[in-house]
């Protein structure tokens, strides 16, 4: 059973000034709760639907892909719930959520961002979507970083040698940061999720944060894979970036364990 709206604390709204247009965007915590409830319900139902195929969707996705998947699901419901936003139709596009709330941004999106192929199908044009001129919001998700002695504690407390998909990690949480492939992200919705015991280990979004970032200061230097390596470049929030996002919770699950732990790691609840 997923949470109702009373299961979440309302904190600060998501608010920022739109790129190019200068339009002020404000999204209330109550609206964000609606998105979280839909996304969490979807994540739970999906587990059941795939189990009917004898397929553990989250185990198969693996920890490596799961965070990205949860970010995508959240972004999709965000675009459905909040007028003036669409998901970026290009797989490598940025940001994830395009702000088309102004007439000029919407026209640009409709007229420039797709190519029509010979068979009449519209395909997204990367050069207009990575990045999108009028900006929007990136949606990133994390289960957090564990304490350094988590393996010893797991062994002692649960008889397990490592985390696995489906095992709640909140008791081992040490910090929260967000990762990206580039430092261009200026407007970030950060999601914190964990596996929910009551729902058979289904991942559930437990907190939503927001921050406007200064790319040169709030992201660490990009680490690039060696020549010929298939490793992609990556970066994470710098200390100042982490401080900004922890200072700005939008929605937090009302649950004593999560409230206490998130306060302990610095989320301003």
């Amino acid at each position: 059973m997923t949470m109702s709206s009373s299961g979440y604390l309302e904190k600060e709204p998501i608010s920022y000034t739109g790129k190019e247009t200068g339009k002020k965007i404000i999204i209330s915590p109550a609206d964000v709760i609606k998105i979280v409830i839909r996304a969490n319900s979807y994540l739970h139902t999906l587990d059941d639907l795939f189990s009917e195929l004898n397929f553990g969707i989250y185990r198969t996705l693996g920890q490596r892909n799961l965070s990205g998947f949860i970010g995508e699901v959240f972004a999709s419901f965000f675009a459905l719930e909040i007028d003036g936003f669409v998901t970026n139709p290009h797989a490598d596009g940025r940001p994830d959520l395009l702000d088309v709330s102004s007439k000029e941004a919407l026209e640009h999106f409709r007229l420039k961002c797709f190519d029509q192929s010979d068979d009449g199908v519209l395909t997204p044009n990367r050069s207009y979507l990575a990045p999108f001129k009028y900006g929007g919001i990136e949606s990133k998700s994390t289960i957090g970083n564990p304490v350094s002695n988590y393996r010893a504690r797991l062994q002692r407390e649960l008889g397990k040698s490592e985390f696995f998909v489906g095992l709640p990690r909140v008791n081992y949480l040490n910090s929260i940061t967000f990762w990206g492939h580039h430092t261009g992200c200026e407007n970030l919705i950060g999601l914190y999720y964990d596996y929910c015991d009551e729902l058979g280990g289904t991942p559930q979004i437990m907190a939503v944060m927001h921050a406007e970032l200064v790319p040169a200061e709030d992201w660490s230097k990009v680490s690039i894979g060696k020549t010929g390596s298939k490793k992609t470049s990556n970066t994470s929030l710098s200390l100042s970036g982490r401080e900004k996002i922890l200072k700005n919770p939008v929605v937090v699950r009302k649950h004593p364990v999560y409230l206490s732990k998130l306060r302990q790691i610095g989320l301003k609840i």
């Binding site: 839909r38 319900s41 979807y42 139902t45 999906l46 639907l49 795939f50 009917e52 195929l53 004898n54 397929f55 969707i57 198969t60 996705l61 490596r64 892909n65 990205g68 998947f69 995508e72 699901v73 999709s76 419901f77 459905l80 139709p89 797989a91 190519d115 192929s117 068979d119 199908v121 395909t123 997204p124 044009n125 060696k226 010929g228 390596s229 298939k230 490793k231």
Partner: protein, 236 residues
């Protein structure tokens, strides 16, 4: 699905798998995927629009392995996730006894199961260079004419090779091929990932392997576009 060749699959020990059984299994899997699309679309988000494309390919193979093992008493799903082949030949009492014994104590025996079986691999085809494809878009016409299956081992043989495409935003198996004459030379040299990479090593099918599989085609979607991809004629 249209039966292109009714010749059953016959393993070295005489185990026979009829094409009709495979066709029924493919239909059930395709139906399950349509249901997944419909049910998730009812929740406003078709899961195949958000799930990682590479994962969908694995999911199709897994779903067919599950369905075939659930519906054929001579086939059992390999209990070792790193095991070969995917479907174990469990057609003889001795095989079944050993499977139970190894399941209880020695999962390593399934890494290269001695009584053979059937390996299942899926491909969506490799996108042509400079082609744009959105997630969930039909790929036919935008993929190379040679289909590429990937395997972890160059000894992969007895391969039931699936070709899938997106039909109305839903992944569907559109063709099934089989070969029991693949050898190491039908797989390219292994691509080994670099240190620290999480990618696993794999080999891609060679032209010779592709030709063996194409000539062992058993089923194809009864749709002129897919039949003509394989140089076949539509039903009249």
């Amino acid at each position: 699905m249209k039966e292109i060749d009714r010749s059953p699959i016959v393993l070295a020990d005489g185990f026979v798998l009829e094409v009709e059984f495979i066709a029924q299994s493919v239909e059930r899997v395709n139906n399950k995927f349509r249901q997944l699309k419909l049910k998730t679309k009812k929740m406003a988000l078709n899961v195949f629009e958000v799930i990682d494309f590479r994962m969908i390919s694995g999911l199709i193979g897994e779903a067919l392995v599950s369905d075939m093992s659930d519906n054929h008493k001579g086939l059992e799903r390999n209990p070792n996730i790193d095991g070969y082949p995917d479907l174990l030949n469990a057609s003889k009492p001795k095989y079944r006894l050993d499977i139970e014994r190894w399941k209880a104590g020695d999962l390593k025996a399934f890494i290269k199961y001695p009584y053979g079986g059937i390996e299942i691999k899926n491909t969506f085809g490799t996108k042509k260079a400079k082609t744009n494809l959105a997630q969930g878009q039909t790929r036919l016409g935008k993929i190379n004419s040679k289909l590429d299956w990937k395997a972890h081992h160059r000894y992969t043989n007895n391969l039931l090779a699936l070709f899938s495409d997106f039909i109305d935003g839903c992944p569907q198996i559109v063709a099934v091929m089989f070969s029991d004459s693949l050898s190491e030379s039908d797989w390219k040299e292994k691509q080994n990932p670099r240190e620290n990479s999480t990618m696993t090593s794999f080999s891609v099918i060679e032209q010779s392997g592709w030709e063996k599989l194409r000539s062992g085609m058993r089923l194809c979607r009864d749709d002129p576009r897919y039949l003509s991809f394989f140089g076949l004629e539509a039903s009249r």
